[in-house]
Structures are given as C-alpha cells and as structure tokens.
C-alpha cells in the first residue's frame, strides 16, 4: 500500500505512526446465521463468492492498513487456514496479518477488546472493524481526520464512521439502529441512542445538559453505522477499566458519552462518499450482496478486485459470469439481471434465475426457479425446484420438485429429499452422526447452547410432518421456529421478534413498528386530558410522568442485572445455608459464624438485606416444630433464638426493623408461619428487637403486605402483621399498666370487653394452647385477676379497638358493626337516662367494633394466661363518662379518645361511642371510678386535673375545659339523629384500618422525643384540637365539634399522606 503522503506539516504524525494497525473482530458474538454457521465462523461465509473476511481485508487494504490483527474465537483453525490460504498472506502485498485466538469465554466485543489490551499489541491509533465489513470508504481519510483532531483535542478518543442513508434503507438494519446526536459543526457525537426495532421504541431521550455547551445539534436517525471505528490507543484500556463494557456501541460509546468522569469525546465521521455496510444478519446479507452486484461498492465489484481472486465477466444488466468458459448455461435457461454465477456451474434447460448468486461448481437442474437465492459452492438443485429469498449452504442437495419458500436457511451438506416443501423461514441443518456430535462437542464446548437447541430439534425429527417438509431420504433436521424457550435471557436485540426484522425475506409487516397506532403513553395521557376537563389536567400530567418512568425501568440492562442478581443470590443463599449448617453442627461461636458470613457476603457482593434474609431463614427453618405442646415449642424457639439470634446483628449492620420484616416475609413463605409470633417474642426477649422496632416495622407498608399481589403469600404476610398488631396492643397495655399499677379492681362489666383484648394479646404471642373462650368468659374473676395489673388503660384499649378492625379483612368488621347495632338497640332500651339514650345510637361505632371484631381473633387464638396481661376495653373508657353528668364527661372523654385514637378518622364518632359504655357503667356504678382513672392515665401524661375529677364526677363536669362545654349541646342534638348516622359510623370504622398504624412513626419523625410514639401523637393532636377549639370559641355545640373533627381529620390525613410518601420514597430508594 502506498505510504501516506508525508507533507512537512504531517511529518510528525507519520513519524510517530508509520504502521496503520487494524483490528478485526472476526466473531459475530451472536447466532443470526444459524445453521449456516454451524461448522464455520460467520466471517467465512461467502458473499458474492468471496468470504466476508476477504471483503473485510479488501476494505482495509484499500485504506492503507498495514498490520491487521484478526481476533477469532469460534473455529479459529478454520479462520487461520483461510487467512493462510488467501491472497492476503502473500508477502508481496505487504500486509501483515496476525490472527489472535481468544478464549471461548470471550462473549462480547468488549471481552475481545480486553484481550487485545492484555496482549499489548496496539501501539498507536488503529482501525477497529468487525469481520463482516464490506466497504470502499477511504478509511485513511478518516484516520487522517481523527489524527488531526487528536492534535488539538487529546480527549477525542474515537471516530465512528457513519453513512447517511435515510430512515428506511435496505442496508440500514430495522432491528438494530441508532440515533446519533451530533454537534452540527464538529460532528462530535453528543448522545448515542440505540434503537431496537421490536418492541418499538417510543421515545428518544436526549439529555438536556448537552444543550448547554452545544446549542445547535443535529438529531440523526438516518445514519447507517458502518461499524468502522478509528480508535486511539487508550480505547482498549478503557475497556479494561470498565469490565462491564460489552457491546462497543451500547456500552462503550454510551458509557463514554454519559460518564462524568472520563471527559472523553467521541466523534462521527459522516461519510459522504463511499460504501460501507456490515453483513450483520441475513437481511443485510441479502442487501449487501445486491449492493455489490449493483456496483454500489465500486471499485469492489466482482469483475474487478474480487476479494476471492475470482474473475468474472460483467454483462449488461449486472450479470456476472465466471470467466474461462467453465460456466455451462443451457440455451434455454434464463438468467435475469443482478445475478452472479460462479465457475464450474451448470445451469440446465429452462432454469430461471433472478437476482441470485450461485457459487462455484453448482448444478442447477432443468426447470428450476431461483429468485433472490444465495447458493453456496457445490450445491445441487434438483429439477423443477422453486426457491425464493433463501440461502442455500455449500454442498447442499435439493431433491427434485422441492419448494423452498422465502426466508429459509439451509445448512451445509443438507440433503433434501424429493418434493421437499420447506415453509417460510425454515432452518434446516444436517443431522449429525453420533461420533461427529462427540467430536464437535470436544472441539467446541462453547457451542453447548446451540447443541441443546439442536438436540431438541433432533428429538422431534421423527414425526411424519417433518418428513413431509424435508422429503424422503433427507439427512436434515428442521430447527424449531419461533422464539426460543430461554428468550427472556437473550439480549433485547437478539429476541425473536426483533430478529425477524433482520432475516432475509421477512417483511415483518405484522409487527407493529410504529407505536403511535398503539397505546403510547403520551397518547394515553393525551386522550385522558382530551376527554377530561380542566381539573384533570394536572392528573394527566402526573400519569404521563409515571408512565414514562415505568418505561424507563424496563431497560434491558436492568433485566440483565436483576437476572444476574437473582443467580448470585440463590448461589449465595445456598452457601449461607451450608455455612450455617456447619456452624450449627459443629457448634461454632456466633462470632466465628459471623465472620464467615461476612466473607461470603463480600465474595458474592450481595446487599446486606440478602444476608439478613438468609440468616433469618436458616434460623427459622432450624427451629423444630413441636406439635401440640406450646410450652415445648416456646422452649425450642427460645433455645434456637437464644443461641443464634445474636448472629442476626453481627452480619455487618444492625437493623432490627428490617429483621422483623425479613422474618415476616420468610414466615409467610414457610411452613413455620404459625411460629412467627413466638419467634418475634423470642427475639424481643433476647433484645434483638426492641418494642420501638416492632412498632416501626408494624407501621411500614411492607409489613402490611401492601403492594403484594393478592395471593396466599400476601395473606400470610398480613397474618403476620396482625400478630404484630396484637403484640403492640400488649405493649400498650403493659405500659399503661406500669403507669397505673395500682389499679386492680376490674369487674364483670369490664370483663366482656377485656376478654377479647386478652385473647388477642395471647394470640399475638402465638399461644397454641387450646384454652377456650368459654374458659375466659366463665372465669371472669380469673381473667380479672390476670388483667388486674394491666389496668384499664383506655388508650391502648381504644387503640386495640381501632387496630383490631384493621386486621381482619372487611368481612370481619362488618359483622362487628352489625353486632354493634344490635347491642346498641338493646342497650338503648335499657337506658335509664334519656341523654344516654340519645347517645346510644351512635356509640357502637367506636367502642363496640373493637369488641366484636376482636372476637374472631379470640376464637382463632385460644387464650391462656398471657405473659403480658392485656387490659382492654373501649367500654371502660366510655364508662368514665357515665356518672351523673354523662354528657359533659362524654365530651371530655371524647376529646381524649379522639386523641388517643390517633389513627381514627372521626374523633367525633368516638366521642359518641363512649356514651353507651357510660350507660353500662351507670348500671353498675362500681366500675365507674376505675374507668375514670384509666382514662386519665391513657389520655395524656398530664392527667392530674383529671385525677381529681375522677373521684367526683361533678367536679369533673365543672372543669373548665372549654371543648367539653362547647360540645355538650352536641350530645343532645345527637339524639335526634336518624339511624343513618349509624351506618356512616360503621363505614368509618371499616375505613379506619388502612389508616391506623401509620401515624405512629410520626412522632418519631416530628418530635424526635423518646416518647412512646403513640403518646407523642396524642399530644400533638390534643394541642392541635385545643387550639382549634379555643379559636372557634364563639361557635358552640355541633359546630365546634365539627371544627375539631374536621381539623383533626385533615391534619391526620395530611400526616398520613406525608408519612405514606416518606415510606414510599424510602422504599424506592432502598
């Protein structure tokens, strides 16, 4: 090759670089040509009777490349031999060709580049091409431009050659193209967006930041990527530094352009003249062949510079016949335009050949019709066959009268019987002998997957339908059509539907490539907003925003990552299990086990949570299940947790909340679901989780199984959550009991309501004992004793009340409400005081629901003396209100109630609800005082005033709590309310569950005080209410109350939404 003209100006350039190097990646890294490429690499497929590798060499030789490294992976011997035998290795050409055999583990071009880097063969700027290039572009010009640029800008590391063509062009791949965003003046590539044909891409996303420095840019969707890159020396090292770069375009170019650190730039060379295209798939095989025949690649044409060294005669109509009279054409055969016929080929009478390429030494029998067919060497097409848009491998024999429809690929050495009928897009290859199969396995381990596919194909060969396809006496096997089973594992580009866009003869007209006809997201939002009025405007915007985000998550990269992660995780989990097995069996210390786990975690690079999951899982699964003996079961659990529980916190981070969640989710999947409560209790006992943690966990949406699909799993998750609910109730009670340990007098009146609570508490601890409702109900005194310590803390009680309905799904709460109404009636009749009576209708909503809704729980979880005695009664709460001045007390209690029921949406209702218990208490005055006490204790810490008031109802009434007075009238007005109110109340009860647990984390966030979260919440509420009421001092009665309630409701709603959002965000960031 002529050395470059070395003007004085460029002298330094030529000095520093005398040899222009090129790297050919001679492996395709995909399987688009199967089965043609089983047995030889793609770069040795003939295009116009010269191998692709030859075309590539020719293209490079034109550019003045002097040293070529051919990186080959599959069938390296064949490639080597081909190079050795080709004209390019003749010393006279001055071309130095070095073949580099890379390992089988080279799966991507990126791997190949890393291999090149490690070999250190690149010394200067070099040309990087794939081994399937047909080009007449003056690459030396590109190199010159590249070097010129490099002199002023050292960061310009690569120049990609692109060719303007228009969107639709036969050599522009529909399945795999790209949008280049270029600076209009410098052709710097600012953004590269890969476009997959199917599923159709909806939007190209152009980063706005590039506009800051480049105010005028061009968005080009009309470029053919020629696959020729002029790279600087540091390009291979960049691959080395970024081990995840696979594809040169999608990973490397994209990575470099988006990197904030690299500060490198990539340019495009928009070739105005010349031809360059890659034979990347069968479709481009077709189009490139046609381009060659139509002489677009001049001077690379069959009759001149044929890379295979053949010589052809160019006849009018772009027909090429091998010179030397070796072609035998019958007098009656018809060879249309754009045909190439290799040496030694015989074409018999009446054969009709249109736009086809026929290899050397082929025989085309009489009456054969070939349209757009590529026949490799030594093929024999039987008489009367009709073949269209297909590629026929070398040494293929097609029986007489066969039909090969469009898009078929017939592998080398296939013999098709008589009258074979290959349907559209069939792929056939030769059935292998046993020995041969072994041999190929030996020499080619990496073709495993192909083999499996082949075997699968072989397995279904015997059916008659297959024989009908390939004809009698065929040695062929038909490859399966359609998407592969492991399609999901494939890169998006290689998936079946997208590949359809890349195969020969497939118009793929049934694939929707323009999404605008379908539901594109912008359209959706558009339509929405079209039909909606002004108010919807904001909504539609939101929806469009969310839908776009949804799209962005479905990037292929992500899929790959998740898959990868999943694999890594399952492996990791297996390891952990083994390691823990050992630890358990051999009695390692917790510390040692922890060290082992940490190492494992580092090795597998899994997030901490996964470790936690694995550890929790192993511990849980190791607990022996003891049927029917709760105590033994408890011992079992505490033994295991006591021994190994500490490990959970030694794996590298302490996050008890997560621990609980992990435990919950594991239990939900496991057979040890019923043990959840006990395990949690054990963890609590061992201080691995604290009360606050349980509360925090309980408040999380994950804990409730939100967002899970409605499956049994979700149900189980929910069940666990309910157990947690009960546990928290216990805590509440416990705390209040600590505060009011003095209270012992509980009486019958309280019992009914207490019982359920106790029962639920027990359930929480997961007691399996058969203890029955009867027991608890009959032994009122007994339970009273039990409960004595746990004082009737109203707050927890109401809590429980509200919480309880939340757990059982809706059905549970409805019966509750109905029951209430019944009770309410009866009570109402019993009522002595008219006022109370009046209140009665409304009462059940809040107080009773708790009772009734807890009942199911009771039956489910039989009670035994709970470790933490549960106090319980909404009824009690209200009873305080009972004496003498029911209405005012109601008011007060209502205030507190509403606060205490932090989550309750309708404080007003709770107020009402208290009335009935009041009634009850009035019947049995004994209970009253105790209740009063309890009320204070729970209501708020500052209960001194109330304490005084307890003793004396009257004094209470006089208490100058403005709210109370204000609201009094309301109570009376309530009387008048029609039954309708009841229903609304029940509804409200039903709606509570969702809201209940959320406010709890609130106090932590807001106050940051060591308060019990709940208390903090109350406090805030009470303050708030107070303000409201004071402000609206002039208003009276119902109005005032409404103010209170609505204000409270709104505030709660606000808090709830904020909390919800926070949680969601947390979740998403995690």
């Amino acid at each position: 090759m002529p050395p470059k003209s070395s003007s004085s100006k460029e002298k330094d350039l030529t000095d520093e670089d005398e040899v222009l190097q090129a790297v050919i990646l001679a492996d395709s890294f995909n399987k688009r040509f199967k089965p043609l490429t089983s047995g030889k690499p793609r770069c040795l497929l003939p295009v116009c009777n010269a191998t692709l590798l030859d075309w590539t060499f020719e293209s490079l030789a034109l550019a003045g490349v002097q040293e070529i490294f051919v990186v080959c992976r599959s069938y390296p011997e064949l490639v080597k031999a081909a190079i050795r035998d080709s004209k390019w290795s003749k010393p006279s050409l001055g071309l130095k060709i070095v073949s580099i055999i890379t390992s089988k583990e080279t799966f991507t071009p990126g791997d190949a580049m890393r291999d090149i880097y490690t070999r250190g063969i690149i010394t200067s700027d070099f040309v990087l091409v794939m081994g399937d290039l047909v080009s007449n572009i003056r690459i030396d010009e590109v190199v010159r431009v590249h070097k010129e640029r490099r002199r002023t800008n050292k960061d310009a590391i690569m120049t990609m050659v692109v060719k303007p063509s228009g969107v639709v062009h036969r050599t522009r791949s529909k399945g795999e193209s790209a949008i280049f965003v270029l600076d209009a003046e410098t052709s710097e590539c600012l953004h590269y967006e890969h476009v997959t044909g199917y599923p159709p891409k909806k939007h190209a996303k152009i980063p706005r930041e590039i506009l800051a420095e480049h105010p005028e840019i061009e968005i080009r969707n009309d470029l053919i990527d020629c696959g020729i890159d002029v790279c600087s020396v540091e390009v291979p090292s960049l691959f080395q530094d970024n081990f995840d770069y696979g594809d040169i375009r999608r990973d490397f170019v994209h990575g470099v352009l988006t990197s904030d650190l690299l500060m490198k730039s990539i340019h495009c060379y928009v070739a105005r003249e010349g031809y360059a295209a890659r034979v990347a798939d069968t479709r481009s095989y077709d189009s490139v062949s046609k381009d060659i025949l139509a002489r677009w690649t001049f001077p690379l044409v069959p009759d001149d510079n044929h890379p295979g060294g053949h010589s052809y005669e160019h006849i009018r109509g772009n027909k090429y016949l091998a010179k030397g009279n070796s072609v035998v054409l019958s007098r009656t055969c018809k060879v249309g335009s754009n045909c190439l016929i290799g040496a030694g080929t015989h074409i018999a009478d009446n054969a009709n050949i249109q736009a086809s390429v026929i290899g050397q030494r082929c025989t085309i029998e009489a009456n054969v019709t070939l349209r757009n067919v590529y026949v490799f060497d030594d093929a024999h097409i039987g008489a009367g066959s009709v073949i269209e848009y297909s590629i026929v491998g070398s040494n293929v024999k097609v029986g007489e009268g066969s039909t090969v429809a469009r898009g078929c690929l017939i592998g080398d050495d296939v013999i098709l019987g008589k009258n074979a009928k290959l349907g559209e897009f069939e792929r056939v290859s030769r059935r292998r002998d046993e020995g041969e199969a072994d041999e190929s396995d030996k020499e080619d381990e990496d073709e495993q997957s192909e083999d499996s596919e082949l075997e699968e194909a072989e397995a279904r060969q015997d059916s008659e339908s297959i024989t009908a396809i390939i004809g009698e006496g065929s040695n062929a096997i038909v490859w399966p059509k359609g998407p592969r089973a492991d399609e999901e594992d494939l890169d998006e580009v290689e998936r079946y539907n997208n590949q359809r866009l890349m195969r020969i003869g497939d118009p793929a007209s049934d694939l929707p490539l323009e999404y605008e006809g379908t539901e594109s997201d912008s359209d959706a939002s558009e339509r929405e907003s079209d039909e909606s009025d002004l108010e919807m405007h904001a909504l539609s915007r939101i929806s469009s925003a969310t839908s776009t985000s949804a799209i962005s998550t479905s990037t292929p990269g992500l899929n790959i990552h998740t898959l990868h992660d999943a694999a890594a995780y399952s492996e990791f989990q297996a390891e952990v299990t083994q390691s823990l097995d050992r630890a358990f069996a051999e009695g390692h210390s917790v510390d040692n086990a922890a060290v082992e786990l940490k190492t494992l975690r580092m090795a597998s690079n899994v997030p901490l949570r996964k470790v936690r999951e694995a550890v929790v899982a192993s511990i849980v699964e190791r607990i022996e299940v003891v049927e029917g003996d709760a105590a033994a079961q408890r011992r079992e659990i505490s033994k295991m947790v006591g021994r190994w529980g500490p490990l959970i916190d030694k794996i590298g981070g302490v996050d008890p909340v997560e621990t609980i969640e992990v435990l919950q989710y594991h239990c939900a999947k496991s057979a040890r679901l019923p043990l959840f409560g006990q395990i949690l209790a054990a963890l609590y006992q061992d201080d691995i989780v604290e009360e606050d943690d349980i509360r925090a966990w309980h408040a999380r949406p994950e804990a409730k199984g939100e967002g899970l699909k409605d499956t049994s799993f979700a149900e189980n998750v929910k069940r666990c959550w309910l157990v947690g609910t009960k546990m928290i109730e216990q805590f509440n009670e416990q705390e209040s009991s600590e505060e009011e340990s003095g209270e012992e007098d509980s009486d019958e009146e309280e019992q009914p309501s207490k019982k359920p609570a106790a029962a639920t508490a027990q359930a929480a601890v997961g007691k399996k004992e058969e203890s029955s409702e009867e027991e608890s109900s009959s032994g009122d005194d007994e339970s009273g004793e039990d409960d004595s310590q746990d004082s009737e803390d109203d707050a927890p009680a109401t809590k429980a009340a509200t919480a309880a309905p939340s757990q059982p799904s809706k059905p549970a709460s409805t019966p509750a409400s109905t029951k209430e109404s019944e009770e309410e009636e009866s009570e109402g009749s019993e009522e002595e005081e008219s006022e109370d009576d009046a209140l009665a209708p409304s009462q059940p909503a809040a107080s009773k629901p708790s009772a009734s809704s807890t009942t199911p729980a009771v039956s489910a979880a039989p009670s035994a003396p709970p470790p933490v005695p549960a106090a319980h009664a909404p009824a009690l709460v209200s009873s305080t209100a009972a004496p003498a001045q029911p209405s005012t007390q109601d008011e007060e209690s209502s205030e507190e109630e509403s606060e205490s029921e932090a989550s309750d949406k309708e404080p007003a209702q709770t107020a009402q609800s208290q009335a009935p218990p009041a009634v009850a208490s009035s019947k049995q005055p004994v209970t009253a005082p105790s209740k009063a006490e309890s009320e204070e204790s729970e209501g708020s810490e500052d209960s001194e005033e109330e304490e005084e008031s307890e003793d004396d109802a009257a004094s209470r009434a006089t208490e100058p709590v403005p709210q109370a007075q204000v609201s009094t009238p309301k109570a009376s007005t309530e009387t008048a309310r029609p039954p309708a109110t009841i229903t609304t109340q029940t509804e409200s009860v039903a709606t509570i569950p969702a809201a209940v647990p959320r406010p709890r984390p609130g106090p932590d966030v807001v106050g940051g005080q060591p308060l019990r979260p709940q208390q903090a919440a109350w406090r805030r509420h009470s303050i708030h209410f107070g303000d409201k009421v004071l402000k609206s001092g002039t208003t009276t009665g119902e109005k005032a109350r409404r103010v209170v309630t609505t204000a409270g409701r709104q505030m709660k709603k606000g808090i709830l939404t904020i909390l919800r959002r926070n949680e969601r965000e947390k979740q998403s960031t995690r």
Binding site: P164, V168, I206, I217, E218, I219, D523
Partner: protein
C-alpha cells in the same frame, strides 16, 4: 374599472392580524401605573416611537389590512387614543384597526389561548398572531413568513407557520445581571431542510423530566435529520389557518399559545392518532396534487419534506411505497439568524434597553430642524450623534448626553450628564444630575445633583435633590410608594 381597488380587496380577505398587547409585567416598573393612569406596555417608546408602531408597520408593509388589536380593558382608552392620534393614523393609513379590550387585571392575566378563543368569532379567515412587542429587523419582512405559509398551506396542507429568531448572545457588560430576567430560550426541534417545526420543549416537559428531552420516535422517523437548537426564541408570530381555532376550542385546557398550544400543534404531523383525530378539524386544503406537481418543478421552491429522504447515492432504496398522505398538517418555521439582523421582543427590561441601544447605534442624531424644538436646546449642550432627543425637549447649558434616548417634552437642566440612558417622555432632570445606564419612566423627576446609576424608575417617581441611587446590584427598581 377601478384597477386600484381590486388587489387590495383580495389581500384584505386573506389574513387578519391579531395583535396581542398585554400588561407587560416583565417590564415593571415601567409599566406600573402612574397614579391611576396606566402605562400600557404597547405604548412604551423604543427610540421615541411606541413599540406598537413596529409590528403595525411590519404588518402594513406586508399588505395586511385588517388588524384586531386586543388590549387589557384598563389600557383601552390610551391605546384608542394612540390609534386615533395623528401620528399613527397618518403612518398606517391602510390599516383598519379593530380595538378590542378584555377584562383582566395585572395579577390575573388571561392566557393567550383564552383570548383567542374569546375573540374567535371575530376571526373568519386565516390569521396571524403578532405580539405588540416584537421588533422585526428590516431584513425580515413579514411576507417571508406569509409566503412560506401560502405555499405550504397550498401544496402540502400545512396548518401554521411560526417564526423563531436566534437569540443574540447577551452582552454581559451592557446590562446589569439583575435585569436579565428574560425567558431562557426554548429548545426547539425543527427540520432545516423543509423548515418544519417538530417539537418545542415546554416548561411542563422540563418539569416532568429535567434530565432528558423525550422525542417521539415517529417524529424522528419522519424527519430523520432534524435540528435541535437551544438558542432560538419564539417571536410569537404565528400564521395559522382558521381551522386551527376550531382545534383550539377542542382543547379548553390550553392556556398559553406559545407554551402549550403551538407545541401541541406540532404533534399531529407525526402522530397518526392525533392526525386522525384532529385531521378533519384542521381540514387542510385538499386541492393538492396539481399544486404539488407544479411546485415540485419549481426551481425557486426548496425541498419537499418527503418522509423518505433521497437515499444515499450508494444503494438503491428499498422498494417501499411512500405513504400517500394528502396533507402533512405541517407547522412551518422560519428561522431568523442573528447574523441577518438584530431582532428581539421587547418583553424584558434587558431586551427593551438593548433594543433602544440597537436603534441608537443605527441612527445618527442631528439637531432638530424646526426652530421651535431647536431653540430649546442650548447651544452649549453636548449631544453625541449616537443619542436621540425628542420633540420639544429642553436641554440646558453644558449638559452632556451620550448614547441615550431622551423622550419628548422633557426638561433637562444645566450641567447634567446622561450616559447610556433611556428617558421616557415628560421627565424633568434638574441641574447637575448624573445619570448612568438608567431607564426613567414617564414623568420622572430627578432632583438637583442627584446621581443615579443603573436605575429603573416607575412613572411619576421623584428622586430628591442630591439623591444617590445605585440600584445595581442591590435592588432593581425605584417605585412610587403608595
């Protein structure tokens, strides 16, 4: 036969110009009320001509006769006065200006789309929307935009033509940074070859995704080589077919023409769903084939916007049939480059000042010819040629005026120094005052020996004697305290 009448009748039927005059909140405090008297933005002078003059002259030069001028109700009186005054009536003899007012207040401005919908019944032909603040350069006649619209509407069913101009790089030194509150230019995707507006980056989209701009792939398929420019500004000049108003009625949520409606109007040209939905409403002309054939052979006509560009010379195209769409529903765009002449919208203080300076640099000042005006200017006053002094303005002894515009009926005392200022009508500047880079609203009074630097005063503001004000960079404006 009356040959003179006929052509004018034809042209009047063709377009109606809708001139929109708003409050000009961006130009506060110049547009703030002077007491109870409003200072309409449209009448703010640029080199002593009300800015409304510029678009009106532009319209007239293109042969447009009918103008629908829409202004806020409080401005109606003064604008009406302006229209009927001698100056404009004589300078635009051929314009028939229909002044309409709309009720809105300064704080609650009505969206431009709403205005258009409201006055739609007064528009029964194709129309052109022009803002009152667009100051076109002589190198950009309106007919250029109109002609593009005429051809494209006829041959391939275009529905609108827009005008964008390149924002000249702001001169960092000339204006204080605080004044540079002008709207950042929008990003626009357009096809250079056919002059088609494809996508306008709206504030909403930026809010949705501040990182990336999403372009519909069907857009890129139809226009594979499109340009994305970040330094173009919308001149708010839109030539539209009448049917566009019908679509606007279908879209009650649109508020701003520039930010919402025009960007949306770009979508039907490549989105087939919208095309089918709104195509019949837009109802472009259908007598296309013959026109098209003629235009394809026209040498003056540049480039058909074919969906399938001419293939590269290197290989023949796929045998795919180009879709035979009768109408493109295209939105044309005329791009005016900065190199072809300075253009701006006087909708910010910065551009307002720059426009004044621009025109100053183009004209040379000579002492007034009429004796009355001349007698008011003291012979010992120094006025450089790159300044301008309005009628009946009195300039005192040894006063120095450089690079400034002095309005009409001003009184400028002795030993005053004015550099780089824009002084509106009826200002009184007392002896020994020094003004540098200021904009004084009408009726501003500057006390003796006051020094003002980079100040903008509200109309009627009084600067006390010896006052020192350097508003830069502390505060922007001097406003009247009520």
């Amino acid at each position: 036969m009356d040959f003179e009448e006929t052509p004018s009748k034809i042209t009047t039927k063709e377009f109606l110009a809708v001139v929109l005059a708003g409050f000009g909140n961006e130009l506060a405090p110049l547009t703030s009320n002077n007491g109870d008297e409003p200072c309409p933005k449209a009448l703010l002078p640029i080199v002593n001509k009300p800015m409304l003059d510029y678009p009106l002259a532009w319209l007239e030069a293109s042969g447009i006769r009918d103008v629908l001028l829409i202004c806020p109700a409080p401005h109606r009186a003064s604008v009406l006065h302006y229209i009927n005054s001698d100056s404009s009536a004589s300078s635009f003899p051929s314009l028939r200006i229909d002044l309409q007012a709309f009720d809105e207040s300064e704080n609650l401005t009505v969206g431009t789309c709403q205005l258009l919908r409201h006055f739609a019944h007064r528009i029964d032909q194709d129309f052109i929307i022009v803002p009152c603040d667009f100051i076109p350069p002589p190198s950009l006649p309106l007919s250029r935009v109109l002609n593009k619209f005429r051809t494209e509407a006829t041959y391939d069913g275009a529905i609108a033509t827009t005008l964008f101009f390149e924002q000249p790089k702001p001169d960092k030194t000339s204006t204080p940074e605080e004044w540079r509150s002008g709207p950042a230019s929008t990003s626009v995707v357009w096809d250079e070859k056919s002059g088609t507006l494809l996508h306008v980056d709206t504030p909403d989209e930026i809010d949705d995704d501040p990182e990336e701009m999403a372009l519909n792939m069907s857009l890129l398929r139809r226009y594979p080589r499109s340009k994305l420019s970040a330094n173009l500004q919308d001149a708010h000049v839109y030539v539209c077919r009448r049917t566009v108003l019908d679509v606007l009625k279908e879209k009650p949520r649109f508020d701003s023409i520039r930010e919402e409606f025009i960007p949306w109007l770009c979508t039907p040209q490549y989105n087939s769903r919208k095309r089918s939905k709104y195509g019949h409403i837009l109802n472009p002309l259908h007598n296309l084939p013959s026109q098209r054939l003629a235009l394809e052979h026209c040498t003056l006509h540049t480039g058909l916007p074919s969906a399938y560009e001419p293939q590269s010379a290197l290989s023949s195209p796929m045998d795919e049939v180009a879709p035979t769409e009768t109408s493109s529903l295209r939105v044309g765009v005329v791009v005016h480059r900065a190199s072809a002449g300075y253009t701006a919208r006087a909708n910010t203080l910065q551009t307002y000042l720059e426009l004044n300076r621009h025109f100053l640099s183009q004209t040379t000042y000579a002492l007034p010819i009429d004796s009355e005006s001349r007698s008011l200017i003291d012979p010992k006053a120094q006025i450089t040629s790159d300044s301008m002094v309005g009628h009946t303005t009195k300039v005192g002894e040894r006063t120095n005026i450089k690079k400034s515009v002095i309005g009409k009926h001003c009184v400028i005392g002795k030993y005053v120094r004015i550099v780089g200022c824009v002084i509106l009508d009826h200002c009184v500047i007392s002896d020994g005052a020094k003004l540098d880079g200021c904009i004084l609203g009408t009726n501003t009074t500057v006390g003796v020996k006051s020094e003002l630097s980079k100040c903008i005063t509200q109309a009627g503001y009084e600067v006390g004697d010896g006052g020192m004000h350097c508003c830069f960079p502390y505060s922007k404006y001097l406003t009247v305290k009520h």
